[in-house]
């Protein structure tokens, strides 16, 4: 085993970084995330857990390429969801977040021929119930939904409360929680791709997080996805506009 000397936690963390890094490469045009695994070989469990954790983001490279989910990557994600159980939620709210993350992955997998779509989870409480602070943190945990071709009530909420997302981004930056800030900036970039001008200038935010953030591939992936969404927001991009 390549991780024989490390703790289980470190093995899983390293696997998340590998999968995120691979997805990042794919987004930049370097193959697909399924290349992480040997064909016909058993996939190590930490890798499967990482694939499950990153969920729908694994398929981001194909979505930004304008195509359907890459079949091999979709198969890997479907395998991970079969083998690795969903994380145990510490609260009802956390369970809802996990359900929405799973919903996003499920929606894309259905399109790739893996018939396992989960029913649409209950709607999340909005900022008027949770306060913009707690709501924006919740939305940051759902940044995986901010992908082209995904749409639903969470997306509607992001558009309806873009200022709360922007305040949440600023709050996270000031609290030095740049991981949350990156995920919220990605949502704001998504709203820009939907034609909604953000009250917060996003380029400097992304630059700042790239320079001062944790430097992880996972955060790098959030930033890269945000930048790709911002590219779509530019009027010259024919792919702009809300996806069906």
């Amino acid at each position: 085993m390549p991780f024989a000397e490390t703790s289980l936690r470190e093995q899983y963390a390293a696997a998340v970084e590998r999968v995120a890094g691979r997805t990042l490469d794919a987004l930049r045009g370097g193959g697909d995330p399924a290349a992480l695994v040997e064909p016909d070989a058993a996939v190590p469990r930490p890798l499967l857990a990482a694939v499950r954790l990153l969920g729908a983001d694994l398929l981001a490279p194909s979505l930004f390429g304008g195509g359907e989910p890459d079949p091999a990557t979709a198969a890997l994600l479907a395998e991970a969801r079969r083998v690795v159980p969903a994380p145990a939620p510490p609260s009802e709210q956390a369970a809802l977040v996990i359900a929405w993350q799973d919903w996003a992955a499920g929606r894309l997998l259905v399109r790739a021929g893996h018939a396992e779509a989960a029913p649409r989870p209950a709607p999340l409480p909005g900022p008027e119930d949770l306060g913009w602070q707690a709501w924006s943190v919740r939305m940051s945990q759902l940044s995986v939904l901010a992908l082209p071709t995904l749409d639903g009530p969470v997306h509607d909420a992001a558009l309806a409360h873009a200022l709360a997302l922007a305040r949440g981004t600023v709050r996270s930056m000031l609290r030095r929680d740049l991981t949350t800030a990156a995920r919220l900036a990605r949502w704001l970039a998504w709203t820009e791709a939907e034609g909604r001008r953000s009250r917060l200038d996003l380029e400097p935010v992304l630059d700042r997080i790239a320079l001062a953030g944790d430097g992880s591939a996972r955060t790098g992936l959030e930033l890269a996805l945000a930048r790709r969404l911002l590219d779509r927001a530019r009027p010259s991009d024919a792919e702009g506009g809300r996806a069906a």
Binding site: R167, T169, V170, M173, L174, L200
Partner: protein
């Protein structure tokens, strides 16, 4: 329409802070030592705090929403501060000696707001206002606005270029809101206070800055409440009142009301315990009391439309 819970909280918060300030000064705290000369080796000890006291009391009188007890306390505090400054003689002598020093001008502005005048100081300031030197001193943008507002209150003939002065502030640049720091946040609050003359003229704030504060004030308030910077949080609530329709809601008022002590003292922050020594407790928390009085008063006055009294 402003939340009545916020109004009730703001009113109680401010009037208790005023009671605390009044009691402290009645008992002789914060006096200028008898042997003080115009050079003031330590102007921050008593002299500048008296100016801040005059600011709070003069705004309370201006707005006229404090009720009989509050109005009486404010009047007594102003009389007391004016007497401490020897009916303005101390300001006059200090300004006469130091041509380009701005603190006598700024302190006098607060008294002038409430009708306390010193004719010789008026003449002196008018004369100094004609000097290029007076306008050439190198200071921060928000401090320039403080001086401009003092000149406006006193009624000096020099007319500042408000737009140019505003452009020279941090807020004037509408910067990335996540780049704010503790000291910058204080500078920003003062930019708003001077442009609006402490809430009397919300329209004195250019619309882009008002929109900017509408967007980001809640985030700033939230993070400084989280780390218990009560003094700054009170200033941010005052900004919220000065810009028109308040945006931050109950969060700040409830948090600050919860840390105010029964005697009205508001601790300046959550890091340092309030001293058991009354004089030290006064010295360290008097600024927070001043801003508490102002924040409560301006919030109430704006909501009741009492700004007309300022005209």
């Amino acid at each position: 329409m402003i939340d009545t819970h916020v109004l009730a909280t703001a009113q109680r918060f401010g009037s208790r802070a005023l009671t605390w300030l009044h009691a402290a000064h009645r008992d002789g705290l914060g006096r200028i030592p008898d042997n003080t000369v115009v050079d003031l080796a330590t102007p921050n000890d008593a002299y500048k705090p008296l100016g801040e006291l005059a600011l709070a009391a003069s705004v309370v009188l201006r707005d006229g929403v404090a009720g009989p007890a509050g109005t009486r306390a404010a009047r007594e505090l102003l009389d007391y501060a004016w007497e401490q400054l020897r009916e303005g003689d101390l300001l006059y002598e200090r300004q006469l000696r130091h041509v380009t020093m701005s603190d006598p001008l700024e302190l006098y502005g607060h008294f002038a707001r409430a009708g306390y005048r010193h004719p010789a100081l008026d003449d002196l300031l008018e004369s100094i206002g004609r000097l290029r030197a007076a306008h050439a001193i190198e200071i921060q943008g928000n401090r320039r606005l403080a001086i401009a507002n003092a000149r406006r209150l006193i009624g000096l003939s020099h007319q500042p270029d408000w737009a140019a002065l505003t452009a020279g502030t941090w807020l004037g640049a509408l910067p990335e809101p996540w780049a704010v720091e503790w000291e910058i946040a204080y500078q920003n609050t003062h930019t708003v206070f001077h442009l609006t003359d402490w809430g009397a003229h919300p329209e004195g704030l250019p619309e882009p800055i008002r929109d900017y504060l509408h967007d980001w004030l809640p985030a700033w308030l939230d993070i400084w409440l989280e780390i218990g910077q009560w003094d700054l949080a009170v200033e941010l609530l005052m900004v919220d009142a000065c810009i028109g329709e308040p945006i931050t809601g109950r969060q700040g008022w409830d948090a600050l009301a919860a840390v105010q002590r029964a005697d009205g003292l508001v601790p300046r922050d959550a890091n340092d315990p309030v001293s058991d020594d009354r004089e030290e407790a006064f010295r360290e928390n008097q600024h927070t009391a001043v801003v508490a009085v102002l924040a409560g008063d301006i919030t109430l006055a704006r909501a009741l439309g009492a700004d007309a009294a300022a005209a």
